[in-house]
């Protein structure tokens, strides 16, 4: 490794230190495993305790190395150390403190380090909660991160550049958003947390602890569900508020690869609940815990290896780590499933035996177990289909041309998923573990069915006609009512801590209805607003009043009112002020932003969103036309040498040209090109000369001078606009031949905007909050369970 590759030595050393300490941690825990009290006489208990303490201190070294590397990366970013390639690539002098933090995870290496950072942090909590399973769990847990540590050791984010640039490239302007400061850390905390259920599952296979692992791992599965879910929603909300394409979910590979592990985690949570209640269906959870983790690795591979570079707006470019990622996935996928296959026949089934007949008892079809199995199946089916769609480019490449699926693929396949999901949510409160007769089910659910009918009727009255949409909205209402009924019962019984599941189900019902209604029944209109002129858009009236600047504190100012000494003002963005008068007479000002990023020269647009509980009004800027006064503009002709072109009865033919470079060294350095043209109007052909002077070192309108040349026998004239002499092409502008068509009328200053009305999109966010609140409640409940449980 050359010194440049090592770069900032303390950082790279910290990563290598962590790699070594990680391996040592695994070895120390392995030694502790062999001293475990269960398999050893009493006197070895003390020895076991010592060994565990030793392994823990090694873990502290492992995590410490990662923390030090992270702190050093943060330090070089905050101190603008542009010697370092990573700092120069993603950071810049213009960034305020909060966005300097974001530069930490703006690139691949930094985001891997962030993943490890949370891994290191979460590990301490795992040590506290794993109890009797600590040695096995910690070995697998640390191993699950060592691959990434190795990637970073090979490709540290501290590499030096050969020369030091004066400023960095700056942070991608799209990421300069408060949501993008918190979304990635939450996401990577979720990624890192998925190592925990995986480690417990492999530990269970290792030590044949078929039920104990679920008790300890369930709070962790819930933790992953809540963090990943929150991160996914934050990303969607950011897209909705910032990107301006009008939605929050685009089925992009990067989004999908975080959604699939989340679905697997939700399936795992349901499977674990089932196993805890029935003490069977053990294999499902082992499979799910292994697959959820592998999904994260596979998603990382898809989005970071560059295989999807042509198919996603998100994907990172190839860092040259594809081989490593494939190897890591291979080890955990085949290793995990291989161990499962090895133990498969040892996993006890424990069938329920009917005491009367002595035979295996059939569980009734309408029982809660069946609902749970169906829900797990549903989550898995959804995940598999999304994975299939996301992997389409790789799959199709094997058989020919790489292809991608349209987003309609996901929407079509997920309509039945949504329907079945709300159906299951509607049924679960009324069906006990023992089973339910159809008659009693109907009697119990009569209130919820009535509410569902109301929802159905409301949707129908609002104009929903598609049977599938009506069905899903109706069932969402049933699901919400059924879950609410169950929640009320729990509150009456003072068992609030146990109602997390139903709370989540209520939220899910609300969210599904919101996704459907806001997606299918949105109204979209593209309008051009001339300045000062009220335009009717749907039920409201919109007037483009002026262009302004909106600073980072949200204050609206004119350009000359901005105080360049203040940072929020310095980062002010240009916005269009649109006065909106709603149908009910309410008046407000909207500020969709449209500005040029100074560093990248990219034109950026941020929508303005006016949210009300019933409807969001979404204004997405499209284009701004500053307008122009009336002017004379001729016809432009591109002439190739020797080829004649005719306009308004006059034929032009470019013969040749000569360039005079004698003035290049003079006080006003210039090059004069003289072109000869054969021009034939009514008076017969004439050979004319036109001069075109290029001033060297000047740019803009004053950079060139051209003489007007009269066209004999007409009122018209022409002049050279451009020369590409080496290619034998000149461009001329012909004026005055047809005065009427030359006159271009004035165009007004105008602003084009996409106006979208999104009904009930608030239900998506509200439903989601309730869902996550339920998840957090369940997390606390399961943590208490785990704390109380003393297992061998």
């Amino acid at each position: 490794m050359n010194p440049q590759q090592i770069g900032f030595a303390p950082g790279t050393l910290a990563i290598w230190f962590s790699l070594v300490a990680g391996i040592a941690t695994c070895l120390a825990y392995y030694r502790a495993l062999r001293l475990a009290p269960a398999s050893a006489p009493e006197r070895r208990a003390a020895e076991y305790g010592d060994q565990i303490r030793f392994a823990r201190s090694l873990y502290l070294a492992f995590a410490g190395g990662i923390f030090v590397a992270s702190a050093l990366l943060l330090r070089v970013l905050l101190s603008h150390d542009f010697r370092i390639s990573y700092v120069a690539s993603y950071s810049g002098l213009d960034l305020p403190l909060n966005y300097l933090f974001s530069t930490f995870w703006a690139g691949q290496e930094g985001s891997f380090l962030l993943w490890l950072f949370f891994g290191g942090l979460i590990g301490f909590a795992v040590i506290q909660t794993a109890r009797e399973q600590e040695p096995q769990v910690m070995i697998i847990y640390v191993l699950s991160f060592l691959g990434i540590v190795a990637i970073l050791a090979k490709q540290p984010p501290f590499r030096f550049l050969a020369e030091v640039p004066p400023d960095g490239q700056g942070l991608n302007p799209l990421l300069q958003d408060p949501w993008m400061v918190i979304h990635p850390p939450v996401m990577f905390a979720g990624f890192a947390s998925l190592s925990v259920p995986f480690a417990f599952a492999i530990g269970a296979l290792w030590s044949k602890r078929w039920d104990g692992w679920v008790v300890r791992a369930m709070p962790w599965a819930l933790f992953s569900m809540v963090t990943l879910g929150t991160a996914i929603l934050m990303g969607g909300y950011w897209a909705y508020k910032t990107l301006g394409w009008g939605g929050y979910w685009a089925w992009d590979p990067v989004e999908n690869t975080s959604l699939v592990p989340w679905l697997a985690t939700v399936a795992l949570v349901h499977g674990m609940f089932l196993q805890k209640n029935r003490e069977k269906h053990r294999k499902i959870n082992l499979i799910l815990a292994i697959l959820a983790f592998c999904c994260i690795l596979y998603g990382t591979f898809l989005t970071r290896s560059g295989v999807l570079a042509d198919f996603s707006v998100h994907s990172f470019v190839d860092l040259g780590i594809t081989g490593w990622l494939v190897a890591i996935i291979g080890v955990f996928f085949f290793g995990g499933l291989g161990l499962l296959a090895y133990r498969w026949r040892e996993i006890p089934k424990e069938p329920v035996i009917d005491p009367e007949t002595g035979k295996e008892k059939e569980e009734p079809f309408l029982s809660r177990s069946v609902l749970f199995i169906l829900s797990v199946t549903l989550f898995c089916a959804s995940g598999i289909v999304i994975l299939l769609g996301t992997s389409a480019p790789i799959l199709t490449r094997m058989f020919g041309k790489a292809s991608q699926v349209a987003t309609s693929f996901y929407n079509v396949t997920h309509t039945p998923v949504a329907a079945i999901m709300v159906l299951l949510i509607s049924l679960v409160p009324f069906i006990t573990w023992r089973g339910e007769a159809p008659g009693s089910l109907l009697k119990k659910s009569v209130f919820s069915l009535l509410i569902g009918l109301c929802g159905f009727g409301l949707a129908f009255a609002a104009g929903v006609r598609k049977p599938m949409d009506l069905l899903i909205i109706g069932l969402s209402a049933v699901g919400l009512a059924a879950s609410a009924e169950a929640i009320v019962l729990y509150v009456r019984r003072r068992a609030i801590r146990s109602m997390g599941g139903y709370l989540s189900h209520a939220g899910t019902s609300i969210m599904i209805a919101g996704i459907l209604i806001s997606g299918v029944y949105e109204e979209k209109a593209q309008v051009t607003l001339p300045k000062g002129q009220p335009i009717q858009v749907g039920t409201s009236t919109m007037t483009f009043t002026r262009t302004v600047f909106v600073n980072e504190d949200g204050e609206v100012k004119q350009f000359n009112q901005l105080n360049p000494a203040l940072l929020p003002d310095r980062r002010a963005k240009q916005a269009m002020e649109v006065e909106v008068k709603s149908g009910t007479g309410k008046v407000w000002k909207a500020y969709p932003k449209m500005y040029q990023n100074e560093r990248t020269q990219q034109l950026m647009a941020n929508p303005d969103v006016r949210s009300t509980p019933l409807m969001d009004l979404y204004l997405s800027p499209q284009s701004y036309d500053p307008g122009s006064p009336a002017r004379q503009e001729g016809t432009v002709l591109k002439l190739e040498k020797g080829i004649a072109k005719t306009v308004d009865g006059v034929t032009f033919k470019f013969i040749d040209f000569s360039a005079d470079k004698s003035q290049v060294e003079s006080a006003t350095p210039r090059v004069t090109v003289t072109a000869r043209l054969l021009v034939s109007a009514g008076a017969g052909p004439a050979e004319l000369e036109a001069r075109f002077v290029t001033l060297i070192g000047a740019s803009g309108p004053g950079g060139t001078q051209a003489d007007d040349v009269a066209i004999p026998g007409t009122e018209g004239r022409f002049r050279i606009r451009k020369t590409a002499a080496s290619e034998g092409v000149i461009e001329i502008e012909v004026l005055g031949l047809n005065p009427g068509s030359d006159l271009k009328p004035a165009t007004p200053e105008s602003f084009s905007v996409d106006v979208t009305r999104k009904p009930l999109i608030s239900l998506v966010w509200t439903g989601f909050y309730i869902m996550m609140a339920g998840g957090i409640l369940a997390l606390f409940r399961r943590m208490q369970d785990a704390n109380r449980a003393s297992l061998a």
């Binding site: 302007p173 301006g244 199995i373 169906l374 299939l388 020919g400 991608q404």
Partner: protein, 133 residues
């Protein structure tokens, strides 16, 4: 219980059948400009933006531009009836998904690759980065 497994199996099979049939239907292969002109289905083409060809027609609310194949220098006129994507003019490459219709490729969706994606590489090219291992 057996019935439950059957019900689960039926759901999975029905769902996978739906998934696979939708999968083949919604497939949009990457093709060359010539192939795109012949294709009957939705396809995707990729190229650079030919300088100076993009214009937004406010009356029809359509963005027109020419895609240019970097290798063959072939040109494909594209129409896009939607919001002009952010950073469109600075795109390093553009992926257009849609169908060839009449004289131009009518895009339903555009993917715009911006130079910012390649920042890291650019910096290392300019200021001399370490060798990739």
């Amino acid at each position: 219980m057996k019935k439950a497994y059957w019900a689960g199996a039926v759901i999975i099979i029905a769902f996978l059948a739906l998934g696979l049939s939708t999968f083949t239907k919604s497939m949009t292969p990457y093709v060359t400009f010539d192939e795109a002109r012949e294709a009957q289905r939705t396809v995707q083409v990729m190229g650079g933006l030919e300088k100076g060809t993009s214009r937004y027609d406010t009356s029809t609310k359509t963005l027109h531009f020419n895609l240019i194949d970097e290798k063959t220098r072939a040109v494909m006129p594209v129409a896009y009836r939607d919001i002009k994507p952010a950073n469109f003019e600075e795109a390093v490459s553009i992926v257009a998904i849609g169908k060839y219709h009449g004289k131009e490729f009518v895009a339903e969706k555009l993917l715009v690759k911006c130079p910012s994606k390649y920042q890291g590489e650019e910096v290392e090219k300019k200021y001399g980065g370490p060798q990739k291992l």
